[in-house]
Symmetry: C2
């Protein structure tokens, strides 16, 4: 181990290793490009598991990759099935009224809503990676489809053409989603941060609960908007139409559901009471209505449904050039929206249960269910928040609950439509409200406030955006703020003055280590972000200001004059050509003031670029050190030696021979 | 200085300092918010120079801040004036034909183009911070204004209303620009990187040169589009209308201009030949046409112009609510576009001459000249690329060239309009082409390719975007790519394996320092970006993969089993709540594999948040070290001591008592 301690007294405290900051060995352009692309698009290294495997095993693993059911299926237990059965039946009982009302929103035949809860859930169960997502149609997607297709075809005048275009748009939505998945753009979901999801969940739960006021109050007319202001106006503008029978029934069932959950929480052994509660509510409610004929006294029921399962619709896909642009445009817009909701919902519940969702697999699964759906008389489906929340709340364990729901819907379509005739809508509303109330996570929001104010701001903007505007506005606001934070991190990097931590050779920020002492005559600055175009002007100004401040301080305190500026580059991950120009300018500024600049510990990428741009030559390679310690040692030696002027030979010698 | 070397043999090579990573002292929320806002919006600390100054001096400095002419004016020399006079007259000779043709594009009376080269340049000369920007109207802004206002008023049917709305839109454009400047959003210009500007300049020079084919070939009809395909189609679709007289004249003058520049470069003393060349060309060309009556043989000339300077138009601003939305919308859109062009152009020439532009001052200056302009019969102005390039090329030194141009235009408007009657348009085209050819910077592009491939890609996308689509498309593509790079830096941070540099206590990336040796049983990883939502999933995967790889390697080579994972956090500038969850998960993953996680050198922000989120408690604070060296020392001690299992008491003792 090299030690300067004995031979160079002035450097005693700082002299240390005798190494140079290395320029990494050159790499062929193609190889480094390949590496970058691999890290960007295949960070999970999906082919890794195929290494050193027999062809049969490889096939099995490949199938498991595309069909996660093959992976978790063999481990499936009877215990799981009991949970999935209950939750599957519960969401099936929700799927029927929801499907009908959303299909009406989309100006499509009501039975399409049921069809859409049969085929797509089966596809998702096989291909999806979420355990909690319940598949079905969504309000926003239905509304969007109605408004976009409605611009070219009037659903009342030509319902057949309109129907066929809806299938076509669904097909393109699926194709687009699958395409995103295959292009490995699943990392887009990473931009939904923890904070965004907390806010989004709370906001969505609030909004969906408010929507249920329609069912609870037994209203016929209701706004299609989801923001709190429209909903409240809609509710209070028709106080004369409130039905007390419906409201009483709703409150009773809500109380029952919340009570059962409370007991389950108190005594975990009684969890099945809470899990069974939604289904028993549906049965009880239906029986009650049937016996009392409450449907004639203001309690709305599901009513009559046609029998028979999905007819094929592949021959109805319409690729006529006259409508193709509209179909593609509708497909892309609704595809993005439904993907955003589906993935945000999947990710939210995964976060709750501490497992992970593969964005690429999800995109492919959601896309495939739309593509297959469009050929089997279904329209746009995704993972709606309300249904997934009920699924989660009813205790689902795996995607088998989707299969149960699909089978239940199928049986309903084939045989049981009469049984659901008397199910009161208000019971379904109570189930949804009860599920929602558990999802507003105050504690998480308070935790965010304590740990990270900016994350709290992101969370609140998601909540406020969803509640006062719409789900998309909330998501866009939160994601926009989060991205702004990333950009600000780079655009306004922090710079620290470093000092020597007493009794050590270590240099650390004097803000963090209050006892760190600055070295007379030397200013050590650390930059904690890559030096890019976005911050090079800022850094130039900031470094000048640090030097000004230090010179003012030295002047007023009468200490040794400032002679050296050391930039510690440990945290500078990369540099671009604007950044190199900035360093050139800083070097000139420093020279003009009669000071000298040194760099400490530039990383591999930085060294490579400083070398290629000849900055190393312009600066003099002897001014670049392996550590801040070495740089301070050398500068100190120069300061205290007889030569007040820097002499590169001495530096060179110092750095190599100690 | 603490040393473990004697008492703890196993840690011999790594034992060192005995300090803890410090949690920075808590700061009140309001104070840290204030600091952040200050660094974000006032990085240049504009109030700094006012400190410790007398009130009179403060006033002077304040005035200098808003009126840069007060700062550079006193240093102005006769030498500068000679250069500015020549360049000012040169751009004035350009301003007349350009102003007329752009006003026609905007469906406004031609004389408005001249008015707009009189008042706004005077304002800019006083308030602007660029030395090379020549003020005037631009093609894109003129076209946009015509199309946006044309939607509500037909300029042929109601020219007066249309004119008044144009003034109103210009007023709002100015107001918006000034607003951006006062909100300190000037840092937006930082997003125009070095690479973007090289590509943008080359592209704009190509496009503007191609536009001059209209003048050189003496064509009457020409496309308003700027992309190369439209221009080429326009040129070659009317080969029968090419005028050889015009083309010959154009080539002769172009040759003269290029030759004079060549000589000036060879013999710097003859610089004035090059500087005078454009003006002498205008005079020579006009005399030639006057004598030969070439205007009757296919050489287009400027022709007749009305006399008199700008009438006031402040009473014509129309705030009628019927048109207000359109006026505001037009103002904002054209304001942004003209700001983008003006600032990109100013920044480009500043880069050439190595000085700096203050984005906030520029926004205020450009905004003020539009606000004042709208009250004095001018429409939207900014710093057009072609005119500024000619200004630069003619050797301008300061904004005085704008004053000279304004006075020349004023004299022209008052007296000299007849003199410009015979100026041939083709000479003006030659002057522009000659100026452009000097601005395509091949060398800079090649340099970008060598130093930074991504910067080269940004540069090329700006060039291709400008040439094949439009200036805005080029700028948006280049800025979009640049921002994507910032996001990718954070979304896909690099992680390195560190090793011990021989004969030192330093740990560095084994990729960069080929001789660095890994420590048996310990894997040291460095993360070189902040840990945010955008990368927390990636990092979790990547760290698991590093561990997998290391365990595979160890297994196949029969080395000591992996026991410790050390994360070096030196380069992790910040962390958010998603990042903290990620660390929790990594800790679990590592525990599940029977390994132990340690952190080295977390920074101030990171320590603060790890502390607030109780991560430090969950992890055990004794596992957090000041340096990688300390962490390795402690782990090594555990590995080699009799206790194969970790014992936090021992660690605690080790870290504190050595």
């Amino acid at each position: 181990m090299g030690s300067a301690d004995d031979t160079n007294p002035p450097a005693e405290n700082y002299g240390g290793t005798s190494h140079r900051a290395a320029i990494p060995p050159p790499q062929p352009f193609v190889k480094s490009l390949k590496n970058t692309l691999k890290e960007t698009f295949f960070p999970d290294d999906p082919l890794r598991q195929f290494k050193n495997q027999s062809p049969g095993r490889r096939l099995a693993l490949g199938l498991q990759y595309f069909f996660p059911i093959l992976e978790w299926g063999p481990r499936y237990t009877w215990q799981f099935f009991k949970s999935d059965l209950i939750s599957g039946i519960t969401i099936a009982s929700l799927a029927i009224p929801q499907g009908i009302s959303y299909a009406k929103l989309a100006n499509l035949p009501p039975v399409l809503g049921l069809y859409s809860s049969f085929v797509p859930p089966l596809i998702y169960a096989v291909m999806g990676s979420s355990r909690d997502l319940a598949v079905g149609t969504v309000a926003v997607g239905s509304l969007l489809m109605a408004s976009m297709l409605g611009e070219v075809v009037n659903p009342l005048e030509d319902p057949t053409l309109y129907l066929h275009l809806a299938f076509t748009a669904t097909f393109f939505a699926g194709l687009f989603e699958v395409g995103l998945g295959f292009l490995r753009l699943g990392f887009i979901v990473d931009f939904l941060s923890h904070a965004t999801i907390v806010g989004f969940m709370g906001g969505a739960a609030t909004v969906v609960s408010l929507q249920q006021l329609k069912g609870v109050l037994g209203l016929d007319q209701f706004t299609h908007a989801t923001d709190i202001i429209s909903v409240m106006r809609s509710v209070f503008s028709q106080t004369n139409k409130w039905r007390w029978e419906s409201a009483v029934l709703g409150c009773v069932f809500l109380f029952y559901l919340l009570l059962s959950r409370y007991f389950s929480k108190k005594k975990p052994k009684l969890f099945w009471i809470s899990a069974m509660a939604p289904l028993t509510s549906v049965i009880l409610g239906s029986v009650l209505v049937y016996l009392t004929h409450a449907e004639k006294h203001g309690v709305q029921v599901i009513g009559h449904l046609k029998k028979g399962i999905n007819p094929p619709s592949i021959m109805h896909l319409n690729f006529d050039s006259k409508y193709l642009t509209t179909a593609i445009k509708t497909g892309i817009v609704t595809g993005i929206i439904s993907l955003a909701e589906g993935i945000a919902v999947g990710r939210s519940f995964a976060m709750f249960k501490h497992y992970h969702i593969d964005g690429n697999k999800e995109m492919i699964a959601i896309g495939m269910m739309n593509m297959v759906g469009s050929c089997t008389s279904c329209y746009l489906t995704t993972g709606p928040f309300s249904r997934s929340a009920v699924n989660f709340n009813a205790g689902c364990k795996t995607a088998v609950s989707n299969i149960v729901m699909a089978i239940a819907v199928m049986i309903t379509l084939l045989l049981l439509t009469p049984l659901f005739h008397y199910t009161p809508l208000v019971v379904l509303s109570s189930i949804i409200i009860a599920a929602m109330l558990g999802l507003i996570d105050y504690d998480a929001a308070i935790h965010l406030w304590h740990v990270d104010k900016f994350d709290f701001l992101v969370c609140m903007s998601a909540y406020v955006g969803v509640v006062f505007a719409s789900i998309e506005v909330g998501l866009v606001m939160a994601v926009g703020l989060s991205v702004l934070r990333l950009l600000l991190f780079v655009a306004r990097p922090r710079t620290f003055v470093l000092g020597n931590v007493p009794d050590s050779k270590v240099f650390r920020s004097v803000d963090q280590y209050q006892n760190a002492r600055s070295v007379p005559g030397i200013l050590i600055l650390e930059i904690d972000a890559p030096i890019y175009f976005a911050n090079s002007n800022y850094l130039r100004e900031r470094i000048s200001r640090w030097i000004d401040d230090e010179e003012d301080r030295v002047k007023s305190s009468g200490e040794t004059d400032l002679k050296y500026i050391i930039l510690d580059m440990s945290a500078v991950g990369n540099i671009d050509t604007s950044g190199i120009s900035m360093l050139d300018e800083v070097m000139k500024i420093v020279d003009r003031r009669g000071l000298k600049l040194a760099l400490a510990n530039p990383g591999a990428e930085v060294m490579k670029k400083l070398n290629k741009s000849k900055f190393l030559e312009r600066m003099g390679q002897e001014w670049i050190f392996l550590t801040a310690e070495d740089a301070v040692g050398a500068c100190n030696y120069m300061l205290h030696s007889c030569k007040p002027k820097m002499d590169s030979d001495v530096l060179e010698k110092y750095s190599n021979n100690v």
